[in-house]
């Protein structure tokens, strides 16, 4: 298998489109998101608890509804779901840029969240499926394709706030419209390049997928392990600020630590994945039970 991994097979155009999409998603999203809390508090005049509630609702309408968006992608195919998600995201950013009533801002934020619940699981699942096909065609380990996907996302979430901070010098509306503009590009790219029927991805009409899912113990165990990792990751925002403030007297070094983390992923993700992959074939299992 190691010899196979050394052969460099170029990624398919579809995989490249999806990986670039992930980059664009994060640039557009993170051009606006980091500045949302301040906009809600200062320009809209929301109380602190309300800002927290709105941000929480955004997370819920996004993360919580991924399962719905994923099921829709299985039912109707990747293309319509991604296109609909992009349209909603463009509408949401446009609305947010012009909204000044609280109800309108909440509506726009929910729309922005729900849009991601449509396009993200569709794109993520198709990347995973394409990565498996690439592996089976002898291209190399699927994990490396997914590592590249992760790096693209990380670069986007690093570049996005820089772009947003530049545009915020004009005003928040311009940052929102730039975010919408990025999604117009994604929409155009997918309308042009994403096929209606992707070979090997059938549309499944029957219901009942959820019932099998909640009984799928290995999958639920994977969810728990992934949840444990995400919970640990969130300590960057919960436990770490307090520790940094204790040691340094202010939270200023936090920004440097976040930048260090991003930089590490961008520079070291692919070598780490390659190292981990070679470990599993040469030096025995590095995952429990890997035979």
């Amino acid at each position: 298998m190691t010899s196979v991994a050394l052969v460099r097979t170029p990624l398919s155009p579809l995989l490249r489109l999806l990986i670039l999409t992930q980059l664009a998603f994060n640039i557009g999203f993170f051009a606006v998101l980091p500045f949302l809390a301040e906009h809600l508090a200062d320009a809209i005049g929301m109380a602190g608890w309300l800002v927290g509630l709105v941000l929480g609702l955004r997370t819920f309408s996004q993360q919580g509804l991924f399962v719905v968006g994923g099921a829709l992608a299985d039912r109707y195919g990747v293309r319509p779901v991604v296109l609909a998600g992009c349209v909603l995201r463009i509408a949401g950013f446009g609305w947010l840029g012009y909204a000044d009533e609280i109800w309108a801002v909440v509506g726009a934020v929910l729309l922005i969240g729900f849009a991601a619940a449509l396009f993200s699981p569709a794109v993520e699942s198709e990347v995973a499926r394409q990565a498996v096909e690439w592996e089976e065609a002898g291209g190399g380990s699927r994990t490396r394709v997914l590592a590249l996907f992760t790096v693209a996302g990380q670069v986007g979430s690093f570049v996005g706030p820089l772009l947003g901070a530049l545009l915020l010098a004009v005003d928040f509306r311009v940052a929102c419209l730039a975010g919408a503009g990025v999604f117009v590009l994604v929409l155009a790219g997918h309308a042009w390049l994403l096929p209606q029927h992707i070979p090997g991805r059938p549309h499944i009409k029957e219901k009942g997928g959820l019932r099998a899912l909640v009984r799928n113990r290995p999958f639920l165990a994977l969810c728990c392990a992934y949840g444990a990792y995400l919970l640990a990751y969130n300590q960057l925002y919960l436990a770490l600020p307090e520790e940094v403030e204790r040691a340094a007297g202010s939270q200023a070094p936090l920004a440097w630590l976040f930048a260090l983390s991003s930089l590490l992923v961008v520079t070291a993700q692919l070598p780490v994945t390659r190292w981990a992959g070679s470990g599993s074939t040469r030096a025995g299992p590095w995952r429990p039970g890997c035979c």
């Binding site: 099998a212 290995p218 992934y226 990792y229 007297g249």
Partner: protein, 123 residues
Amino acid sequence: MATGLLLIATGFTAVAVARPAELTGTGGLLPATGFVVLLTLGQMLIAPVARAWVPDLAEPGRLGLYTGALSSVSGLIVLLGSAGTGTLLDLGLPAAVPWLVLAAVPMAAVGSLPRRSRRPRRR
């Protein structure tokens, strides 16, 4: 994946161990920096592998549902866990205790990992 979770647990433990020394200044930031580096290394091992694993565990034709569910279920865990962590940090326990508890979570997750990482695919 297990290696990644162990690295993260080590990161939390490093802060917990250094905490009673009450170091401040640049040296005092070392445990926090170590934590961030170990957490990021863990992330690099876990995130792509978890995504790569889903196609082996999903029912045929339902990869979208399973990919979405991975995010939704783990998001729910983060929501509940963050509320728990917030409470833990506010309890006024000795400063190292919350970090040790946080180290225990990924350790427990290592134990719960599915045993077989890949189902043989027949086509």
